[in-house]
């Protein structure tokens, strides 16, 4: 540790590397935090957790009893025995609230720009936008069915849309500015469980439905432009992208612009193992197509067989895009975790260890910032898996019932998990390294009671 600090000072170690090393070191040491405790005011299963994206300080939770609460995770409200920091909710909105949700809240997200608003979606068919400071509903959207998921794009500059998936087959985009639905995206054959905005393009929305399909939508156009197919796969990462090939591809695409995506995918199928020219050409195309108008015409003609493609057997219960916008992780009720290449739309055959996942509810996955670890709620535990090798590195046991959601706090390298047992647990690395020494002294006194006691 100290050697690395010195290396960084001497310029031997780039600061970014240093930071990522420290981070990964901390992440690998995650464990159930004994000195940080979130006091859950919920009387039902915790379904959604999110820390605000601007400050990284306020945790929002939504629960099955129709309540949502916000906690300050930086500053504890009180300390028990000077050792355990308890974080009580700053406020709770529940059924007693004038405009509270009547049924379970299935999703709760922060407004990505600041902490002044948050959005909740509930089984009572409503998506509500709340003012955090007054804890009043400023806007609500009536959905045609139970709301399973909502999503807002964290990188959006040009729009402020809430994508909401419900028991209805259509995905609706709710505009906070106007208070109306701007889009209705139809294509799923069953309810939409989970939604995720692309982290690289503000126009791309990815949705997973109960029909097992993951659809990609460009919200500037009607219809979905891609359906992920679990049978089309590639092995491992794509090779680094070469300048000259990209030019060629551009040229080629413009030539063969009218060829449908289905055709391409068929051709791709033939060389699933190939890392060569042909594949990278095919892989890269969608990116170009987004930019070129040629792509627009391709999707209406998408062959029906492709339209029926499924990403999972059963429902897609969770989606998570990596921070760099390159990969997408999906979980399904077939207890499978799949890794997708967003650009190519191919199933990267990462072999995850066998796990059993919740099937009835949507689950929230979490990725660590460098996309090397994924946190998956597996029944009553949370597993940390290596994204690429699929190995389970850690299993977090602590909940007594099914875990519904987890959220990884990038800033503090802390993991928050919410479960059916009404608890929100904090998993944190062992206490900060810098103040280890003084903390040790302090703890020495505190922990004096927790020692071996061999009377005989």
């Amino acid at each position: 540790m100290w050697k690395e600090v010195r290396d960084r000072e001497a310029g031997k170690l780039p600061p970014i590397t240093f930071a990522s090393r420290v981070r990964s070191c901390r992440v690998s040491a995650l464990g159930l935090s004994n000195h940080k405790e979130i006091v859950s005011p919920h009387h039902g299963a915790v379904n959604a957790l999110q820390v605000d994206l601007t400050e990284g300080r306020y945790l929002l939770s939504g629960a099955s009893d129709g309540s949502a609460a916000v906690y300050d995770i930086q500053r504890a409200t009180d300390y028990e025995e000077g050792l355990i920091a308890r974080h009580r909710s700053l406020f709770v909105v529940d059924k007693q609230h004038e405009y509270g949700h009547k049924f379970a809240i299935s999703t709760a997200i922060w407004y990505p720009v600041d902490t002044g608003l948050f959005v909740t979606g509930s089984f009572d068919h409503f998506v509500k936008v709340w003012d955090t400071n007054t804890t009043q509903v400023v806007m609500d959207f009536k959905m045609p069915g139970k709301v399973y998921g909502t999503a807002m794009s964290s990188i959006a500059k040009a729009h402020m849309l809430i994508a909401a998936g419900s028991a209805d087959v259509q995905v609706r985009l709710c505009d906070i500015a106007s208070g109306a639905f701007t889009h209705t995206l139809s294509g799923h054959r069953d309810g939409v469980m989970t939604l995720e905005w692309s982290t690289s393009s503000e126009w791309i929305l990815m949705t997973g439905g109960r029909d097992g399909a993951i659809r990609f939508w460009d919200i500037r156009r009607a219809g979905c432009f891609r359906v992920l197919d679990q049978s089309q796969c590639q092995l491992g990462r794509r090779p680094p992208f070469l300048e000259n090939t990209s030019k060629k591809i551009v040229a080629r695409t413009s030539l063969a612009g009218s060829s449908s995506l289905a055709n391409k995918s068929v051709s791709r199928k033939k060389s699933p193992l190939g890392n060569g020219m042909k594949q990278s050409q095919a892989l890269h195309k969608p990116q170009n197509l987004l930019r070129t108008p040629v792509r627009q015409r391709s999707h209406p003609g998408m062959s029906s067989s492709h339209d029926r493609a499924t990403a999972h057997y059963g429902a897609v219960t969770g989606l998570k895009a990596s921070v760099d916008g390159m990969y997408l992780l999906s979980s399904g009720s077939d207890s499978q975790l799949r890794l997708w290449d967003i650009e190519s739309g191919l199933n990267i055959l990462a072999k995850y260890e066998e796990m059993s996942l919740q099937t009835s509810k949507s689950i929230h996955l979490a990725l660590n910032p460098d996309s090397s670890l994924v946190f998956v709620p597996c029944m009553a535990t949370v597993k940390a898996c290596d994204v690429w090798s699929g190995l389970t590195l850690q299993t977090f046991r602590g909940h007594y019932e099914l875990v519904n959601c987890c959220y990884f706090n990038l800033q503090d390298q802390e993991l928050y998990t919410g479960s059916n047992d009404r608890q929100i647990l904090v998993w944190s690395p062992p206490s900060a390294i810098i103040n280890d020494l003084e903390e040790d002294n302090r703890k020495e006194q505190k922990f004096s009671a927790d020692k071996d006691n061999w009377s005989d």
């Binding site: 159930l32 935090s33 004994n34 405790e37 028990e80 025995e81 050792l83 355990i84 009553a380 046991r397 602590g398 909940h399 007594y400 047992d421 009404r422 608890q423 647990l425 922990f447 009671a449 927790d450 020692k451 071996d452 006691n453 061999w454 009377s455 005989d456």
Partner: protein, 648 residues
């Protein structure tokens, strides 16, 4: 211990020890094995790891007894080793699901009685662990919280109860201390007056004694000298007797001269003993118990009180020595004690007392009281005692009661302390109110005198009215035959005795309604002359009936006994069959049921045998209940049959 050296060579010997310790049917872990486990685990961290692993393995076994013992071992290690705690806590939800069995898909394995014990104990242990180590282990808190708040398990809540008890005790002590303090203040104010009062009484007594003694002094002296000379030659006992008698003689006799003095003395003595002595003792106890800063006054007061007490006691001794005239106010406890000792003894004692107080008259009546005399004789003492005292008359009039506890507080209307004996109730598990009082009404309610109502045997007379077709009417009605009117004594031909023949003729001819009306009119006239005949008849019939009844009762009893015996045998046989039902000797051993029962008990228990189904005591009781019920029905029907016979 020698085990430690062994564990040096064998890296992990704890698993074997644990396996051995958990493979037992005893409700406790073998203390020697436990000690061995503890000392081995203490020896190295590797052993702790091994212990956790093997304990979890044991916990997973599908046998509650194994798990139970494993939990006991876990508790021992958990309370001792930090490493053990931190290791166990990692898989705490699994541990809880195996020990408490809160997951529906993972219920605790059989045997069920032990499983429930296991659950109870695990919950208790969890509470204990949580209270002592909860703040260091989040998992403990989580588990506790989950079981308590989500699954709503009932925790024994030891801590809170203990705290509450402590609080209550403190409050009580505070209160008593306050009372004592008040008393003490009171004493401080009145100390001198109390002292002077007592001193005054003592002085007065002293004066009285002096007066008496002066009078008798010469006489006494002479007596003593005499007795000394003679006494030397007597045997010891005789001498003692003589001494006693002389002492008796020496005592001042009360006569007309000194009666006033004696009276005064008695009065003062009573005052001294009943008031001053008790108050002094009370004060002493107050002084001892009171908690004060100012010890000086307390000490002096205490000393003085003790002195006063000694003085009083010496005065009392002198008084007692001086004369039996000053008989102590009989200490009541003793009397009660003697009376309550033997039940038989009481009436005699009573009688004795009575006879002392009264004349001889009512001794027979007393005896009668005891024996609950037949109702016929009741009149005699009544008649005879008319002339005698009022008291005996009342006595005779008084109802005869069998002896019972209600006689203890006959007519008293006092509240009674619930904890009369001053039992130490700290060990009691419930809340205890030390000053609980049972109100007088409740006492009265409790000691209400109950007697079993015994129906007097009445022989129902047949109507016996002559029938037209010949013969006599055999209907048995209590008072009135619907056909022949009131039942009256009749002779062999059916003519009413003591009535004019014409009237009987009338009755014969008349319709029943007329007859009843007629009889109704002169019913009153008949009763006197009916008397003699009926009494004779009744007496005869009564004797006969009683005999018959006796016979029936005996028969019944015998039948019942036979039934019971039969049933017992059946039950025993069943039990025997059931208990051995899984052993190979099901069919053959039917006859030797008793032996097999006892064998089953002595047979060595194994873990596997615990899993087998046994006929529990409950089963047996329910079985018995069932059969007794059927038996009862049989009896009832039998009795009904008899009743029917009687009717006919």
């Amino acid at each position: 211990m020698g085990r430690e050296e062994e564990s040096d060579e064998v890296p992990a010997m704890v698993p074997r020890l644990i396996e051995k310790a958990t493979n037992s049917t005893a409700p406790e872990v073998n203390p020697r094995l436990l000690k061995a486990i503890k000392s081995t685990v203490r020896y190295s961290d590797d052993e702790v790891h091994a212990a956790v692993q093997s304990l979890m393995v044991q916990m997973k076994k599908p046998h509650s007894q194994v798990r139970y013992l494993a939990v006991l071992i876990i508790d021992e290690l958990f309370m001792r080793s930090k490493l053990f705690r931190s290791l166990l806590v990692i898989n705490f939800d699994q541990f809880l699901s195996l020990s408490v069995g809160f997951r529906r898909n993972m219920p605790l394995p059989p045997p069920f009685s032990i499983a429930s014990n296991l659950r109870k104990m695990s919950i208790e242990l969890l509470e204990k662990w949580n209270s002592s180590y909860g703040i260091y282990y989040r998992q403990l808190r989580l588990g506790f919280d989950y079981l308590k708040n989500t699954l709503r398990f009932q925790f024994p809540n030891r801590l809170e109860i203990a705290a509450r008890l402590q609080q209550e005790r403190r409050e009580r002590e505070m209160r008593t201390q306050q009372i004592l303090l008040n008393k003490f203040e009171n004493l401080k104010d009145n100390f001198s007056s109390i002292k002077s009062e007592i001193q005054l009484t003592i002085d007065e007594i002293g004066e009285c004694l002096e007066i008496i003694n002066e009078k008798e002094e010469e006489f006494n002296l002479r007596n003593f000298s005499e007795d000394d000379e003679v006494g030397e030659f007597q045997s010891l006992t005789l001498r003692q007797i003589r001494l006693d008698s002389l002492k008796e003689g020496q005592k001042v006799q009360e006569d007309n001269d000194n009666k006033a003095i004696f009276d005064a003395l008695r009065e003062l003595f009573k005052l001294l003993i009943s008031k001053h002595l008790t108050s002094v003792q009370e004060w002493i106890s107050v002084l001892i118990r009171v908690d004060l800063n100012d010890l000086k006054f307390r000490d002096t007061a205490l000393k003085e009180f003790i002195d006063i007490r000694n003085v009083i006691q010496s005065v009392r001794n002198r008084c007692v020595q001086l004369g039996c005239v000053l008989n102590d106010p009989p200490s009541q406890e003793e009397d009660i004690w003697e009376e309550g000792k033997i039940e038989d003894y009481i009436p005699q004692n009573f009688v004795m007392n009575r006879s002392l107080v009264e004349n001889s008259v009512d001794i027979p009546s007393r005896h009668k009281c005891k024996k609950s005399a037949p109702p016929g004789e009741e009149n005699n003492p009544f008649d005879s005692s008319q002339s005698v005292s009022e008291r005996s008359r009342l006595l005779a009039e008084a109802p005869v009661l069998t002896w019972g506890p209600f006689l203890d507080n006959w007519g008293s209307k006092r509240d009674v302390l619930a904890n009369q004996r001053g039992l130490e109730l700290d060990g009691h598990w419930g809340r205890v109110d030390y000053d609980a009082v049972i109100p007088a009404e409740r006492i009265a309610e409790l000691s209400v005198h109950r007697t079993v109502y015994k129906e007097e045997a009445v022989e129902i007379q047949p109507c016996l009215a002559p029938l037209r077709k010949g013969g006599l009417c055999q209907r048995k009605d209590l008072r009135e035959c619907p056909f022949h009117g009131p039942i009256i004594p009749r002779d062999a031909l059916g003519n009413p005795i003591g009535r004019s023949p014409c009237s009987t003729g009338e009755i014969e001819k008349d319709s029943s309604t007329e007859a009843t009306a007629h009889n109704g009119e002169n019913g009153a006239e008949e009763s006197p002359n009916m008397g003699k005949v009926t009494i004779e008849q009744l007496a005869k019939q009564a004797v006969k009936n009683v005999r018959e009844r006796d016979r029936e009762v005996k028969m019944l009893k015998r039948a019942k006994l036979a039934k019971v015996r039969e049933h017992n045998e059946v039950v025993l046989r069943e039990a025997a069959i059931a208990s051995t039902s899984y052993s190979e000797a099901t069919g053959e051993r039917r006859d030797a049921s008793h032996e097999s029962l006892s064998e089953g008990k002595t047979k060595k228990l194994t873990l596997a045998s615990m899993l087998k189904k046994k006929v529990t005591a409950k089963d047996r009781i329910s079985q018995r209940l069932l059969s007794t019920r059927t038996k009862y029905y049989e009896l009832v029907t039998m009795y009904d049959g008899k009743g029917g016979l009687l009717m006919r």
